[in-house]
């Protein structure tokens, strides 16, 4: 009994199973691709310009900050490119180039490298970039105004703005199937519901993101929106509408799940996800902003360290 082996660690060489940050970054980009491509087809060359510029600028900023701070060049891990892609997916297709440049700078440098680079950031870098732009240049983020010259096959009014200002009567033009198929205006890569859901499922199956966060986020949105809707059906849109509009889906699968700013244990993940979902609908329905996803997730990023204090008790531990 005494010399029973408990744990065996062999000596090197070890076998690397091939998973790395690089693989993870590029697979996440792959998962986001259907939604991003859909946006590019919908909004045309301007959208392609925003996406392309955003990806290249994000990598360039990371390269520059690597050089300036004299650290090893980290652009090979693909994380900067991923930040660039996700950032562009949240923007209106008409974003001017200087806004893309500043936004990616804020995301990569202030959102990530100030904290020491990947893994050190307390907030989601993409959302830091978007949040600062939303505050600084509000009008460019007003999708009704930004997309005023677009005439596509569907009602072009921004669904969340219509719901906020006109109540349920303003959103009759939007059907669930239409929303899933991207028949509504919004961020370049944020409108194709089906594509985002498929991308999210892929990431969950591959283990790149935690389903607990995505599912609890969506549940938080659903339940809160349902309660509002039941309290006054003419004023507040229904839960499915909230799930499929604005940044909800891209938030659930690509933003809230960013790993260094989200918790790792089961209960904390549920609290974090559900909290962000509830906040999202609260901001949408009673806050001043039309969409709440950005600030809701950032807020939960803020309390993420406290969430992670809730740990499972070690088995058999008293006290």
């Amino acid at each position: 009994m005494l010399n029973q082996k408990k744990l065996i660690v062999s000596h090197a060489p070890f076998w690397h199973d091939g998973s790395s940050i690089t693989v993870r970054s590029y697979h996440t980009m792959l998962a986001a691709l259907p939604a991003a491509l859909f946006g590019i087809f919908t909004y045309g060359m301007p959208a392609l310009g925003v996406v392309s510029l955003s990806i290249s600028f994000a990598i360039i900023w990371e390269l520059l900050i690597n050089k300036v701070t004299q650290r090893t060049v980290s652009i090979g891990d693909g994380n900067a490119a991923l930040i660039g892609l996700l950032f562009a997916m949240l923007l209106p297709a008409t974003s001017p180039w200087w806004m893309v440049a500043t936004g990616t700078f804020v995301a990569v440098v202030i959102g990530k490298h100030i904290y020491g680079g990947i893994g050190g950031n307390p907030f989601n870098p993409v959302l830091i970039g978007v949040a600062i732009l939303m505050v600084a240049w509000k009008d460019y983020f007003d999708f009704n105004e930004a997309l005023v010259n677009y005439d596509l096959r569907f009602a072009m009014v921004y669904p969340l703005a219509a719901a906020k200002h006109l109540g349920t009567s303003g959103i009759e033009a939007f059907s669930t199937a239409g929303l899933l198929l991207g028949q509504h205006s919004g961020g370049i890569g944020a409108t194709f519901g089906l594509g985002l859901i498929l991308g999210g499922i892929y990431l969950i199956i591959r283990g790149f993101i935690r389903w607990e966060i995505s599912v609890s986020f969506l549940a938080g949105v659903f339940v809160t929106a349902l309660l509002f809707h039941m309290s006054d059906p003419s004023l507040y849109a229904g839960p499915v509408f909230h799930l499929l509009t604005g940044y909800t889906l891209i938030g659930a699968f690509f933003l809230a799940t960013e790993d260094s700013s989200s918790p790792v244990n089961f209960i904390p993940m549920l609290i974090y996800g559900a909290g962000a979902g509830v906040m999202t609908v609260l901001i949408r329905n009673i806050g001043t902003y039309v969409d709440g996803v950005v600030f809701a997730i950032l807020l939960m990023n803020l309390i993420n360290p406290i969430c992670d204090k809730i740990r499972p008790k070690a088995l058999g531990k008293v006290v």
């Binding site: 790395s20 690089t22 693989v23 045309g44 060359m45 301007p46 392609l48 310009g49 925003v50 996406v51 392309s52 510029l53 955003s54 990806i55 290249s56 600028f57 990598i59 360039i60 390269l63 060049v73 652009i75 090979g76 891990d77 693909g78 900067a80 490119a81 008409t94 180039w97 009008d139 007003d142 009704n144 105004e145 005023v148 010259n149 677009y150 005439d151 072009m156 009014v157 703005a161 200002h165 006109l166 001043t288």
Partner: protein, 149 residues
């Protein structure tokens, strides 16, 4: 993948996307259509989104151009009337009774006692009176149907 290969990929991403991005921005600058689709007015009372296309298209409210583009009533060419309201309805400089744009078609002495309301009054008056007539759409008491934040 070796770190060297990864770096190569990142550098090529920079080059390719910078190029594509640059071309897209340079070759396809944002342009406003000749005939507006939707118009966004920014006012002190909140933004107003006016859906020009829905108002005039047959699948929308099917209005005639001249219901709104009202002056001159019988233009030789329709285009003459299809100008921005603000060309004629504007706050006048000191000592003038009509804007210079009238002189394209009228002699100054013909216009001595004419009165043209300022732009926001013109909008309120025209938009609201029509909505009242057809008893649909936003009107006086429903400021917030037009003016949203």
């Amino acid at each position: 993948m070796t770190p060297k290969r990864e770096l190569q990929i990142a550098y090529s991403l920079i080059i390719v996307f910078l190029f594509v991005g640059f071309i897209s921005y340079a070759a396809f600058p944002a342009k406003t259509p000749d005939e507006p689709i939707r118009l966004m007015y920014k006012t002190v009372a909140g933004k107003v989104l006016f859906d020009h296309k829905i108002h005039l298209s047959d699948s929308g409210y099917g209005l005639a151009c001249q219901d709104c583009h009202h002056h001159p009533e019988e233009p030789e060419e329709l285009e003459e009337a299809l100008v921005a309201c603000g060309e004629c309805h504007k706050v006048l400089e000191e000592g003038k009774t009509f804007p210079d744009s009238c002189l394209d078609c009228h002699e100054a002495e013909d216009l001595e006692d004419s009165e043209v309301m300022k732009k926001s009054d013109a909008f309120h008056s025209q938009c609201e009176s029509c909505h009242q007539e057809v008893d649909a759409g936003p009107e006086e008491e429903r400021c917030s149907w037009c003016h949203v934040m």
